[in-house]
Assembly symmetry: C3
């Protein structure tokens, strides 16, 4: 859970957390401070964690968290030092508590901190166009250019020799060296993640970021959403064409080539040296191996092993696809 | 035919309307004023209507319009008080006459009335970014924010607690309360509606608007076109992901969830509690029921009844699809 | 190889060209000037050309170029007046040499020459919105409008009666008369063309342009990339809907209608009077005939003859498609 950018508003009394969850709760020290929310592995003393599926039972047994949001049927796995907080829906409750610690990660209203670049330290070191805006907590390396009307909102690190196009918006993103991001992109917005509810959908926080490694190129009109609980990563020397959508938590390896209008749904992991043809779509939570080729227009709905060429909807071996379709 | 925004340039003498249609016409009172153009049901005395298909014969018989653009073979259905205007192509003629009454609804040249928000009444009540523009006939409720470089062109009503992103353009649109529209969207542009003609295509007027109901969210880079003769509607608490295209006259119900890069073609009606996977496409003039689930990448080319899960191209029962594709 | 816009930085000594290619080369006049790089047909004395496939052998035999980048196995086809320059990869070497002559055609960093339109000659003759920028070497005809925040970068010719929307970026493009380009488009950017290399992909120059003929309309959020060695052309009276991607070197005929979210991959040639349904995709290097209809969502992976209706993925006769899918 990498989280360099979002302000943690802790401490909160455990009594406040109970109140947020609308729980009536008897606990001998309602005044105790809680400092952060983390996953089962990373949480420590005075922190809160969550445990929503028995597949994490072994990890749960060793958690060092002081509190854990969980269910009645799972709570017996927790160590004695960890106080269970019993809720109906663990993920919804986790979302509510995470929003309390990191309220700035829930909504993506425009960045009020952004000011014109000629009022900032960057006016000397960056080549920039008209009406470029820069938010708080931004750094830019040497030999970079930022095009007209682009907005580098708060929480962005840009390396050396990078070129940002015009009309592009970036926030909550780390860009390494020699990266090109073309025009009209939106990078680092929260993902399409929420709990559906017929009264009013509940957005969950996105405390992940976008990381774009060295030598990448991102085409015009593309959107790359930041992660919710992990990061969205574009690997070194990977090139994206125009109008591509990369959803939250997606990880793409190195040297991959992704053609126009491709969409990759949330949390899928794409290997290195992967080629994806135009308009192909990849469902969420899949694993696409290294050296995979996916034909244009394909719809991938299951994992693809290394060194495979696939095509079709659902995508299958390209040889099989072409034989069937003759 | 809801039409709160477009200026009606009436009255026109009936002789002028004949001239626009290049018709030579003998009528005893060429000086009579015509006040508006409406459909068969809503037209009244001193107004003109149109009648192009015998499936509207029953309605035509009761129209209160003074004039009706129609064909020789249909005119006998009209009541005696309604003067038929006989043309070769009713829809083309209707388009020409509508353009006469509502010339501002044909083209979407940029709004020259838009000025910087800090020169308007909104500077006190709206949180806004740099270079925000506001056109004529705009209202904004309480507790709203509008991001950098966004343009609220003429004819927009925004409710309370709304958040508009940066680089977004909105016109001819009613937005209710608690709506979020993210970055780089274009909302309320005319649809892709015209009469093909090898000399020069003839655009028809778009006198409909876009209505976005309470609690909706519209993702980055999305386009929602306004209606031609009816409105485009996004129902309450419906969420759209990034890079979605909603064509003119589409109506979407409540609590629906539409993933990235989906496209819905003109005049289709989508129910409530519908889930549409990424990159799915829905053809025009279809009816998708309530509680329907459409798999990512599907191509829907016929109506889908309530409570159905479909997938594939053309989309069929998801069970059948997966069985066939094994 | 139409090339009205890119500055030719010649002359270069042939010795410099050898050095760029990291070739050690004995030639009796290393001091000779080379003036341009062109294809086999168009190159003249004191110019360099390239020859990479035996299918061009007949043309190679007649070239008037003084130098030719080629391979050992092809060089015997060249006339005696043409000095072969032997390399391992002809296209990579050609790309390096083209970049030397036309360095401005490789990268698409924002145009530093662009200034606010009210500081230019166009302030008198063009209707324009707020913050419109105009680059060097731009001309605009009579009765044109350019919307808010749009950027007409260097090397653009716009004819009469054109309407450019807001937030649109155009460069290296010729637009004829009566053309409408709507909001949030990017026209004339380089294509997605490069030589993949696991150390660092090598971009090749794009010295082609975009040509948009009379009476066209380009929808919101569309991207049209300029050509690499030829031009990208949109024919007269062709209409594109929203969110369309047209890749480099594509040519589209007259009177064609292309619905939302269609993508056409590099170097494909589309005929006249073609109708393409929403979200259809067309692979690269294909020939689509005249009067073709392609169903929405189709994936076209082979040539389509004139007067054909196709649908499906891969696209086939629409009758066959619908029969099979029953």
């Amino acid at each position: 859970m990498s989280n360099p950018f979002y302000k943690n508003y802790s401490p909160f009394k455990i009594s406040e957390i109970f109140k947020s969850l609308k729980l009536q709760f008897s606990y001998d020290n309602l005044d105790i401070d809680v400092l952060d929310i983390k996953d089962l592995v990373n949480a420590h003393n005075a922190e809160i964690t969550f445990f929503h599926s028995k597949k994490y039972s072994e990890v749960a047994k060793k958690t060092k968290a002081s509190f854990c949001i969980t269910t009645n049927s799972l709570k017996h796995n927790l160590p004695t030092g960890c106080v269970p907080i019993i809720v109906e829906n663990v993920l919804v409750a986790t979302s509510i508590v995470t929003s309390k610690f990191y309220p700035d990660s829930v909504n993506d209203d425009f960045d009020v901190s952004a000011i014109n670049i000629h009022e900032t330290e960057f006016k000397e070191k960056v080549r920039y166009g008209k009406s470029v805006l820069i938010g708080n907590n931004v750094s830019v390396g040497s030999n970079c250019s930022i095009g007209h009307n682009s907005i580098i909102e708060k929480n962005v690190i840009i390396g050396d020799n990078c070129s940002i196009g015009s009309n592009t918006i970036i926030r909550n993103t780390i860009i390494n060296n020699n990266v090109k991001i073309l025009d009209n992109c939106v990078i680092g917005k929260h993902g399409f993640g929420f709990f559906p509810n017929n009264i009013k959908n509940l957005r969950y926080p996105h405390i992940g970021i976008v990381i774009i490694e060295d030598d990448c190129e991102i085409g015009c009109g593309s959107t790359i959403d930041r992660g919710s609980m992990s990061n969205t990563v574009i690997g070194r020397n990977t090139f994206l064409d125009n109008q591509i959508h990369i959803a939250h938590n997606v990880k793409i390896g190195e040297n991959s080539i992704i053609a126009g209008q491709v969409g990759i749904a949330g949390s899928s992991v794409i290997g290195s040296n992967v080629k994806i043809g135009g308009q192909a779509g990849i469902s969420g939570h899949l694993k696409i191996g290294n050296n995979v080729e996916i034909g244009g227009g394909s719809g991938v709905i299951k994992d693809i092993p290394d060194n495979t060429k696939v095509m079709g909807y659902p995508a299958k071996s390209i040889r099989e696809f072409l034989k069937e379709k003759k």
